[in-house]
């Protein structure tokens, strides 16, 4: 396994300029090891979504450094030209809502990326089915997303995030729309994946049900991160 992880130092992000400038991120320092699941919590407006977008290469930070594994992707400026390829190959996204493509069935939703990238449909679907099996939703492989439950949908979304075996998974409130049993199932899945695939996982949340499960947490408040030790409670 490669020693991928996330390392952020002195990252800041300012929207606007002059008097109207908003300093969403002031000083962010973070490090996540491969195979580790880390929680990122903070009140509304604290900048956690902005941080996630920076990490996901969706918006550009203002200053600082970001490493994805050994690769420096940002150092006061993008170090990589094709951000979309970066997103596709290095980062798996899991969102608050699953955002599945409604006109594709479960299997094709998961297999979409490699199929669009020109891999053979059969190969991509094979891989997708494996992931669905891992996530225990293989029996829904041919159903349309609209026929799935919320937990199932979220797991499909996770499977989609994993299809390219990314070293990093960014999960934005993945359990917000779920009851506690399903929420815990999703977190356990993420933990399993982190362990099995040696993936660094960041879960942005303010869900009290799952906060106790993290071994390590980052608090973000007014654009500044504070690291703290979590309870690391076992999920049964």
């Amino acid at each position: 396994m490669q020693a991928y992880g996330i390392k952020i130092s002195n990252l800041s992000k300012t929207f606007g300029r002059g008097d109207t400038a908003v300093h969403a991120l002031k000083e962010v320092n973070m490090q996540v090891e491969p195979g580790e699941v880390v929680g990122l919590i903070g009140p509304s407006g604290s900048g956690k979504s902005t941080l996630l977008k920076c990490l996901g290469a969706i918006i550009e930070p203002s200053a600082g450094q970001m490493y994805l594994g050994d690769q420096l992707i940002y150092d006061n400026g993008w170090k990589i030209s094709d951000l979309r390829a970066l997103r596709r190959d290095k980062i798996g996204f899991v969102f608050q809502a699953p955002y599945l493509i409604p006109f594709l069935n479960t299997l094709d939703n998961v297999a979409l990326l490699p199929m669009l990238a020109g891999k053979s449909n059969k190969e991509a679907r094979q891989r997708a089915l494996e992931l669905l099996t891992v996530l225990q939703v293989e029996h829904r492989a041919h159903a349309l997303p609209s026929r799935l439950s919320g937990g199932e949908q979220q797991r499909i979304a996770i499977a989609r995030g994993l299809i390219n075996r990314p070293p990093v998974i960014l999960a934005d409130e993945p359990t917000a729309a779920l009851d506690s049993v399903r929420a815990l199932t999703v977190i356990r899945t993420l933990n399993d994946i982190a362990r099995d695939y040696n993936t660094a996982v960041i879960v942005v949340t303010h869900d009290d049900k799952i906060i106790p499960t993290f071994k390590r947490l980052y608090h973000i408040r007014d654009g500044i991160t504070y690291e703290e030790q979590g309870q690391g409670r076992e999920i049964l």
Binding site: R84, P102, L112, L113, L116
Partner: protein
């Protein structure tokens, strides 16, 4: 490779087809409008085709016989036939009038044809049923658009005519069906007033001592006879010998016979350029507006279709889909919509065209132009949608 467009269409097939059908009906209306315009022009053309003439000899300084009244003595054709280059010349009369039969009445262009046999100028070019006129009185060949049937007996002025043949697409420039009757009858019909009018006229003349002179009772009869006979025709149709030069022959006639002569080109100019010009331009204008409106609606439909999927597009972008895939999805959908719409439109236009009271001519050229325009429009419209899709920030998918 997976076809996103195909999967999306398949997923929302009903909606897609209904949108396509709606769009198709609109395209059908546009195609029909083009057909109406072509039909109008074609009405004028077939009138000229059907006369089977190379030259039209009409009264001097008139645009006759279709656009303006024209009268010639009915022996003019002899002089015309003597001009070098003329193969044959025949009299013809045209009279637009109401023709009635037991089953109803219709407006028709009653054409008097000289007794020169089938294939002569002025005669119906070909029949759909029955036969050509073979008696020189009281027989008629009618266009099927008149609604008359073989064996019907129709009333033109005072006389009854037996329908012996039916034609198709023999119409006047305004689309009225033509009815062919022998020339002598037509001349009479053209002049014949109602019996009351004739009686009144006779009374009036007989009270005039100049005409009703007791010393010479024959004068009255002669005058009345003169008043009630008609030796005029509307035009002489001329067919030329193969090697004759129409312009030259026409010039000879103008010069020596002091008559107005038109060749096919000039006649077309008169009919299309003068007679139906305004109404045709009216239709054309409407067609242009309809085409623009259709184009706008196509653009709007495709834009809406894309905007309905903007969230999915944002997700696709977020998870790293190439722009290429998104563009091709939008364009493929737009083209599919255009093709379905075009097919529905073409079918619709063909199905409802025969129900129009006047001729609707769906030209292949127009159909092809229509197809290209529709597809071009779809591509153009999808550019707007593509621009909107590409501008979508993937961050929108993540939310606040």
């Amino acid at each position: 490779m997976i076809s996103l467009a195909g999967r999306d269409i398949l997923h929302a097939w009903g909606k897609f087809v209904f949108t396509g059908v709606g769009l198709g009906l609109l395209i059908g209306v546009t195609l029909t409008m083009a057909g109406v315009y072509r039909g109008m022009v074609d009405d004028a053309q077939v009138l000229l085709d059907n006369s089977a003439a190379d030259l039209w000899v009409v009264q001097k300084d008139t645009l006759g016989p279709y656009a303006e009244p024209s009268n010639l003595p009915d022996d003019t054709w002899r002089a015309v036939a003597n001009i070098p280059g003329v193969a044959n010349a025949s009299n013809v009369t045209y009279l637009t009038m109401q023709v009635s039969s037991a089953s109803g009445e219709t407006r028709a262009l009653v054409t008097g044809i000289a007794n020169s046999g089938p294939g002569s100028s002025g005669w119906p070019l070909r029949l759909l049923a029955g036969r050509q006129v073979s008696k020189n009185h009281y027989e008629a060949v009618a266009d099927i658009a008149s609604g008359f049937k073989l064996g019907d007996s129709i009333q033109i002025r005072r006389n009854r005519y037996l329908i012996v043949g039916l034609t198709k697409r023999m119409v006047s420039s305004s689309g009225d069906p033509m009815i062919f009757i022998p020339l002598l009858d037509a001349q009479q019909a053209q002049f014949l007033k109602s019996n009351d009018a004739i009686a009144q006229n006779r009374r009036r003349i007989s009270q005039n001592p100049i005409f009703n002179n007791p010393r010479n009772p024959e004068v009255l009869d002669a005058v009345l006879d003169l008043q009630e006979s008609n030796t005029q025709v509307n035009a002489v149709l001329v067919q030329l010998k193969a090697q004759a030069e129409p312009k030259q022959v026409a010039e000879d006639m103008r010069r020596w016979l002091r008559l107005q002569v038109y060749d096919r080109e000039q006649m077309e100019q008169i009919l299309v350029g003068k007679l139906i010009a305004t109404s045709a331009r009216q239709i054309l204008m409407f067609l242009v507006i309809l085409a623009v409106v259709s184009a706008a609606i196509v653009a709007f439909i495709i834009y809406t279709l894309t905007m309905g999927k903007i969230r999915e597009i944002a997700v696709l972008k977020l998870i790293g889909t190439h722009n290429k895939s998104i563009i091709s999805m939008i364009i493929q959908q737009a083209l599919a919509l255009g093709i379905i719409g075009f097919m529905v439109g073409k079918i619709a236009a063909t199905v409802w065209a025969p129900f129009f009271p006047k001729y609707v001519l769906l030209v292949t050229q127009d159909t092809i132009t229509g197809l290209i325009a529709v597809l071009g429009m779809c591509v153009l419209a999808s550019f707007v949608a593509i621009y909107a899709a590409l501008r979508v920030d993937p961050a929108d998918a993540v939310g606040g």
